[in-house]
Every structure is written in C-alpha cells, then in structure tokens.
Subunit: 296 residues, 3 copies
C-alpha cells in the first residue's frame, strides 16, 4: 500500500507536458544516471535574519531520488541544530518545476532491500519536515505533483506561482499506485476529508487557482515574486513568540506524526511488497517505455 | 440511538409539500400496503460500458421499506460480483423525489424483532454502498430527505437537479428522532464537523444551491440533464486505474465502516430500544394522524 | 500545556487598542482589585419564552477571573436545573468588548495551588457550556480574544456585531502562552484543522468579516441588532424537538468533552507547571510593566 513515483518522464502523464518538451528531460532519463557529486540542494543561510533558503537543483525536475532525499535530510538536520536558524524557505532552482516527486528509478528493477531503504528515506524526509521546529514555507515556483506536493504540504505555509501551466496535487492514483496513509493524513489536515477523498481517488492535479480555492495552497503571487512573498511571510511568522508557536505546532501535528512513527516498519514492508509485485513492476516498465517511444 | 422515518406523508413536514399534493401519496398511505411483487428496483446494466443504472421505482416516494432495502442489497451484490460491472448510477423513476427515506410503517406498531430486522437491513445497505468497490454516483433527480440523503452520501459523487423545489438533508431531528452515529460520520466525512453539527441539530433540509455551497452535493445541472451528467462523470472516474482507486477509496472510508461493523449489534439494540419507547411510538402515531387529518 | 491570559491591558497587544483608550482600563489595572460584591453576571430569565439572557458586567472588560468564572458556573447550574429554561443568550454589558479572556492576575505571582484552582474553574466553565443541554447562543457585541473567543466557541451559534474595530480569535501564542488541547479541539470542531493550525500558531485575531468567512462566527449583524438577531435565532432553535436535538448535540460533542474529562488532573498539572515557570512569570511581568509604562 503506498508510494509515489515521481519521475522525469511522468510529467507527460500528469499534465506536466510543458516540462517534457524540455530537452534535458528525456536525455537524463534515457542516459545512465550519474552519481553526481555536485550538490542537489543549495542552502543559503542568512545568519542576520535566521532564515535559510533551500534551493532544489537536481536536474532536470528535482526528482526525489535516494541521494536527493539523503541530502535534504542532512541539510535539515544541520539547520535544525543551528540555534540561530529559525525558518526555512524551500524552493526550486529548476525551471518550471518545484519537484516532480519520487524517483521511479529507485523502485523499478531494484532489490527489495533497496526499495525499503528508499522508502525509509521518504519517511525520514516527511518526519523531519512535518515535525520541524522551524517555520517552513514552500515557495512553489513550478509544478508540484505527487512527492513534490507532499513536500509542500509539510510546510507551515504554501505560496505558489500564479501560472496556469503549473499544477499541484497527489496524483499517484493516475499512475496506478497509491498514496500511503500518511500522505493522506497530511492532505486531510490541510484540505479536509472530502477534498482529499476526491483528490486521491481521481489523482487530481490542481491549477493554482483551484488549489487556492480548496486550500491546497495559501497564496498565489506572480511567478517572479514567489520568493519575495515567501520572505515577507517568513518575517511575519518569525515575529510570533517562538516557544509558544513551536508547542502549538507540535500539538497540531503530533498525532499524525506518531501514527507513522509507530508504524514505520509495517509501512516500509507494505511499500516493498506492493512495489515489487510483478504487475506493478510491469506497469512501471510500460510507463517508461511509453515515454521512450514518445521521445523517439 | 437512531433511526429514520422516511415515509410517504412525512413529505408534508419536511418541506416536500410539492409531493404531498400528489394524489397517490396519501392514497397509498391510507390504504393497506400491498406486498407488491413488481420490482422496486430496475437495473439497466450496459455490459459494453460496465455501468449499471439503478432506478428506484417504489411508488409513491421510494420509501426505504424492508422489501425495498432487501431488493437494493440483492441488486448491489449481483453487480458487485459481476467483474465487468465497474460503476453504478443511482437515480429515481418516481417524479419529484429521489427517496423520502426510511419507511415509518416498518417501525410503527411493530415487534422489537421486526424493528431489529429492519434496522439491520438499513445498516446492510449503508455498508454495501459506502464500501462498494465500484464507482457510485447519485443522480439526485428529486427531493432527498433523511434516508434518501444518506443513500446519496454513500456515493463517490453527487449530482443534483437544480430545482429549488427540491431539498436534501438529514432532517431526522425535525421528526423527533435521531440520526445514528454512522449517518453522522458519513456526513462529517462529506461536509465537515461544524456543518454537520448545525445540520443534524436543526434537522436542516438544503435547497440545491445551499447543498452545493456546503459540499453536500458536488454538482447541479438542469433537471433533464442529471442522468447525462452522471454518465459523463462516470466515464471520467472509470478512466482512473481501478486497483489504485479502489485501494484509495478503502483507505478513506475503512475507519468509518469498521466503526459500524464492530458495533452493529449494539446499534441495532439502541435503535430497537429507542423506537419501541411509548413516547416515540406516540409521536409517530400523532404524526401519521396529522397526515390523515390533513387529507380529510 | 495551556492557558489564557485574558486581561484588561492585553487589549493593547491584541489589537484591542480601541479599548485601551478607555479610561477605566488602565485605572483598574494599576489600582488594587477589589473583591466586589456586585454581581459580575446579570441573568434575565423570561419564563414565558424559556430563554435566559446572561449579561457579563465585570468592568472593565469582563476578564475571566476566578470570581467571574465561579459566578458563571453557578448561574449555568441554576438555569440548567430549571426545567423551564431551554436557551441561553450570552452577551456583554461592557462597551466594545464581549470578554477579554482569562484574567492574568490570577496567574501572576500566585501560588501553584491558586493557579490550579483557577484553571479548574476555566475547565469547569468550558465543560458546562460546551456540554449544555440548553440551546446556547453567543451575542458577540464587542471584541472577543482568547478566553472570550473560547466562550463563544462553546455555543451552538455565534452572532457578531459587524464592526471592523472588533476582533475575535484564540491569540494566546501572541502572548507567549499556549492554547490547551481542548481549546484547540473546540476550534477544530468549528473551523477545521488547517484554519485552526494557522490561527493558533500565529495567534490570529479575525475581523468580523474574516471570522464569518472561515466559520468562526455564523452571522454578522449591525451592532445594535445583535441581541435581536440572537433572540430570533433562539426561537428557531427552540422549535426543534428538544429531546432529539439534545441527543444529537451530545453525539457531536461527547468525544471532545470526554477527552478533557479523562485528562483533567493532568491538564491542571500541565498548566500549573507551565505558568509558574520563572521564564513565563517573567514575561507576564514584563508584559504588565509595558502596559504601565504605556499609561505613564
């Protein structure tokens, strides 16, 4: 039960067609992945304001690979330990996309051990972000399907570029896979039970205006003002007495976090059992072949 | 604590005045009920599309009698077992009403055993509909109070005729009775806690426009287009990978379903104790006499 | 973790600036509090309608002191025991303010025993109001921060004066303190999880129009019509069969009430531990000194 196949090529299927016309997209997919040593995350930390901007820069579409997730978690840990750092703005350095979600290559043709390790890293990122003591703001400057949407949902506030070519949503079902219970819980906490039921069953991707309407994002601004708006909002949040805000945040989110914490191993096992099924692997293969043919 | 007294005549009380001017209404009430052998449910199943249309045709107002409920459950079971059937549209063949809800004659002057059997059938219908693996769409082409509203709420999607003479809601309280916890849970899952609190305490019936506004229905269309719109929506839902959609639906609804499943006997006992009370039977009798006098 | 520091002077901090220009405000703060024997609550009970109007008249801003809370609870008990009394309208006799919330002087420089006794009284008021069998309507004819907002939230219906100088909200965080879980639960039941998360983390105070938009209040009327509107609404609610309405209300609110009931002692201990901390006492002192200097 559960998973997310963020992926370069999935863009085509999930309405991210604008991205798939981007040369690097298919290229990086068809070629071998390199275990690049260049950082996938760039953190600009301003000690005077106590605010860090975390820029995702893993071409082409900030797929959440195991390496990427590991980098995110290490960065978050460092910032969380720095007493001076009080807020994080998460944004993308890639054009047109915030993050395309989980990397399908981490779950196709991989050993159960690898899939399990990967899933554990996804859990870890969610736990660190959703439970962060810092103020977290998503500056969503591009499309944000599946795992990208999840990252946004973990934040305290979501500002999205008002560009109708972008979309956001937990669209796993569209790909034949299933958002796990903690993706679901995070969404229910944000947009309520009924909106979540519709969104997850249909794998809906929302245009910015629709996302604002159901509360999936909190604010729309022109594309070139996303980061500025995030910075302004951050100032407002940091003016709140910190200890009281942190205790309140924990009170709101703790039950949801504890639910995963006390079911982590079972959730990993569920994922591994599901994703290594012949039928699921086959549909992942067909999906990737479809993308190759599209390119050819 | 629970029950629903759908009923021919209750229409008068619950804003369905338009119905009570319908000759057959009072006639069928005053006369003895016949255990008709003509089917109360007509199912048109199109094997090429995999969609069944379930038409309720129990004059005058599709009251949910024990016979009616049994027929609904048998039809649902058959369709659920047919692997080719993937979606159901529920609609009414009676003019001006979708369903008036539970049949008061099944709980007035009846033995505790009969009341218990009746309530078990109501539970069974809810369990089958709310937990259905198929896509379920309510094509609400008339008023839909109480049990009729409950049937609608169990579906994946609700399309209502945009006719201000129709209304929908769980109006049990208006009749001096109480919606049980699983009616309440279903409504909370759809319109949230506060809307449900107001709706149930006041026994509110909503005009279509109001129902749309709070999310009690998902879409309004002109009266003659309800079925067409339902068919179009069905096509969209059936395009979603089926297995993933079913698992997701189950994830969303399972806790609510399990709550009734593990309390079924106690819920029946509650209902029987409540409905067989002298005071409640008296108010049911007064209610029916009021209707007779209205006619005389 | 919990508490509320309603208080004359806090008005300045929480957007109630209009109040702090009121001469009596700072006067009553700087001077010694007198254990006045004049009633802080005036109850007008109309036996013909079965409706009691509870007017809060504890100058200057209806702070919820231990004496005040005790009077409220005694009044509620009396009314609850009177079988003829079926509804209560809660309103303020003080200008511009409904209630400013918990009285900071009950928790500054007081013994742990006193703080515990005070907190128990806050719990008691909430339990009595949120679980009342009567119809309860808040006629919010002035600002209603923190504990004042909580009182409003316990009611069945909230009507607020449409005056943009007034505001309402659980703004504890702004003062460096934390709304306890049952304040939070009451708000989630009213405006949902996401609105509550934002409201509590930022300690938001809403103008009437904003409060209406998120559902924090149910209706806005011109200031001089608040009580009239409350009376009209009461008539509508009292027309509902009483027993069914009461059972339904209990069904909606019982889980939230039971959660506090079964954690009352621990919640008191949490409060006492938190509020008697050196750091919290210090910030309460600084806060009060800031108010004195403002006046000087």
């Amino acid at each position: 039960m559960a998973l997310r196949t963020a992926f370069r090529g999935r863009a085509a299927l999930s309405g991210l067609l604008s991205c798939s016309s981007h040369g690097r997209l298919s290229l990086s997919f068809i070629s071998q992945r390199k275990n690049s040593t260049s950082p996938k995350i760039k953190v600009d930390y301003d000690q005077t304001t106590g605010v860090a901007v975390m820029r995702m820069q893993s071409p082409p579409v900030n797929s959440l690979s195991l390496d990427f997730l590991t980098e995110v978690c290490i960065s978050l840990e460092k910032l969380e330990m720095d007493k001076g750092c009080r807020g994080i703005i998460i944004t993308s350095n890639q054009p047109k996309v915030f993050s395309a979600g989980l990397d399908i290559l981490e779950m196709y043709g991989k050993s159960p051990e690898h899939c399990g390790e990967f899933w554990k890293a996804v859990q870890e990122m969610w736990l660190k972000l959703y439970g962060s003591n810092m103020v977290t703001i998503a500056a969503i400057n591009g499309s944000s399907p599946a795992g990208g949407c999840l990252m946004s949902l973990t934040c305290d506030y979501r500002i999205m570029a008002d560009n109708p070519r972008y979309s956001i949503g937990l669209n796993e079902t569209q790909l034949g896979i299933v958002a796990p219970f903690w993706f679901k819980d995070t969404m229910v906490n944000t947009v309520g039970h009924r909106n979540t039921e519709m969104a997850l069953e249909l794998g809906l991707l929302y245009k910015p205006a629709e996302a604002l309407k159901i509360g999936l994002v909190d604010q729309l601004v022109p594309e070139d003002q996303v980061l500025t708006a995030a910075t302004q909002t951050m100032t407002k949040w940091l003016a709140i007495p910190e200890h009281a805000r942190q205790i309140t945040k924990s009170m709101m989110r703790k039950p949801t976090i504890e639910k995963l914490r006390s079911n982590r191993e079972a959730d990993i096992q569920n994922f591994v059992n599901f994703i290594t099924k012949e039928s699921i692997q086959k549909s992942l293969r067909m999906y990737m072949e479809m993308l190759k043919q599209k390119k050819a």
